[in-house]
Amino acid sequence: MSSPFELTRNITIGQYLVRNSIIHKLDPRFKLASFAILLVGIAICDSYIGNLIGLFLSIYLFHLASIPVSYGVSGLKPAIPFMIIIGLMQLFLYKEMSPDNVIYWQLGFLEVSSASIKIVIISVLRFMQIIFLSSILTLSTSTTEITRGLERLLSPLQKVKFPVHAFSLIITIAIRFVPTFAMEMEKMMKAQASRGAEFGTGAWWQIIKRTTEMFPLIIPLFNVALARGEDLILAMEARCYTPGSSRTVYTQYKANGNDYVALLVSVGIVFVLVFIPYPW
């Protein structure tokens, strides 16, 4: 019998898998940039062939990263019911006014046309690629690296007074405290349960009752978080942190050949996906 209180088990932020692959070793700046470029390509590409190529390439990336494809597939599974619903809606409700759109079936405002079939299939393919790509990114890059990479990528924005470092510091703090709060929450759930707490007992329409029933968890969670925040403010000030003042940087990345290759290949793939006029 497993305990209902093992919260930490369900936390999947930072699913980082330690491997020694080419993908893992990429400079996070370049990895993030390549990821972004590929996403844009996938979002624009609306041909069957282009999307199939994209799907094939994203599966190949798992191989490159020495990560079993099953990790990506498991990300797809929970989405299937919703995909079916959305797919059906698009299938019957999507309308397009174009001369070569063939309508196969029609009933009232419902219609199935060549355009609606295409949009369903393309959406499914696109969705799979996006899931696979983001899985590879999060499985091969630690959250720390993602944050650092993001900070460096955004650093040109400093010129227009965008507080890049403060921004990445916020994200770092958020990621840093998720496991802490999760443990806190776990303790809180146990403690309130021992005092007889029950959740979701009111009649289904009693919104207020059902909400206030969660108070024993929600209120302490926010209180503890904000109280910790107060402490952290002092600790950061005591360590000479002043927002906006100049600072040096500890982790420095140096891009090597592989990184540039990765970027170029990504641009190449986008070109292949978007600019080649495929027949379908």
Binding site: M1, E6, R9, E184, K187, M188, K190, S194, R195, P216
Partner: protein, 286 residues
């Protein structure tokens, strides 16, 4: 009437079973506690003591082995968890974090209200619980919880558990982080609950002065098992156990052990300041 109120037999527990993070927390614990006792459970961080005490009120259930509490078998599938939790009150570490009602009285009344008791009875229980922990009922019940000091908040949290009227009170590090004054007050209240109300107390602690002050018996845990148990005097006189399990000892005991090492004949288990003084006095010339 020598039936133990709580008994643990060959209890094992594995966290996150069948995941990569699997972690064996308990490897066959045995324990017997008699009604009216105060028992301390001590041991290094990660020895399994928190996991063990969370079995006592149905937060965890035995994976293998048995836990019997006041005649209830925790391995039975149709266990009435609610009734178990009324018999065993569990106070977690830093329990003041769990206060959520704006008013002291409301927070303490949370448990009794959840038991669907009539208002009159709830009030009686809150009043009793507050007085047991040393919070005057009339003066404190309408106070705002967030305006209290750390020590007072902890008393409110303890009262919130006491209001369930448990037979057994289980506390995880009850005085951690309190200042000496609040610490002493809280320890006195716990002792009073045991002596006047007959509540069986089980507590986990790192503070050996506190263990020496409260406990009738000590269980020492290490690596997911109980390694020995006995009265404080028995445990503190045993230098092997102390060394092997890195049990911190009260300063009094440390002094007596030092004297013992120097070849003086002293009883090393005399942990109270007065007793230790008497013990040393015997060595000195008239």
């Amino acid at each position: 009437m020598n039936q133990p109120i709580l008994s643990v037999k060959d209890l094992t527990y594995v966290y996150m079973k069948s995941t990569p993070l699997e972690h064996q927390a308990l490897l066959g614990v045995n324990m017997e506690i008699t009604e009216g006792e105060i028992v301390a459970i001590i041991g290094h961080t990660g020895c399994g003591k928190s996991t063990l005490i969370q079995h006592f009120n149905g937060i965890h259930f035995p994976q293998t082995g048995h836990v019997m509490i006041n005649g209830m078998d925790l391995t039975k599938p149709k266990l009435d968890v609610k009734s178990l939790r009324r018999q065993v009150g569990l106070v977690f570490q830093n329990p003041e974090d769990q206060l959520f009602e704006k008013l002291v009285g409301d927070d303490i009344a949370y448990g009794p209200f959840k038991m669907k008791l009539p208002l009159e009875e709830v009030r009686e229980r809150v009043k009793w619980a507050m007085e047991m922990v040393g919070l005057p009922f009339d003066e404190m019940k309408d106070r705002a919880t967030f305006a209290l000091s750390g020590g007072q908040k902890r008393k409110v949290a303890l009262a919130g558990v006491l209001a369930l009227r448990p037979k057994i009170l289980v506390l995880d590090e009850p005085t951690a982080g309190l200042d000496p004054k609040s610490r002493r007050e809280l320890l006195e209240k716990i002792k009073k609950l045991n002596q006047e109300e007959g509540i069986t107390v089980i507590f986990v602690s790192h503070n050996m002065e506190e263990v020496a002050y409260l406990a009738d018996r000590i269980y020492v845990m290490a690596g997911g098992k109980e390694v020995c148990h006995g009265t404080p005097e028995e445990i503190f006189t045993n230098p092997e156990i102390i060394l092997q399990h890195r049990i911190g000892t009260p300063e009094t005991v440390r002094t007596l052990h030092r004297l013992h090492e120097e070849g003086y004949a002293v009883n090393t288990g005399r942990f109270r300041v007065e007793d230790a003084s008497t013990e040393i006095r015997k060595l000195l010339p008239e």
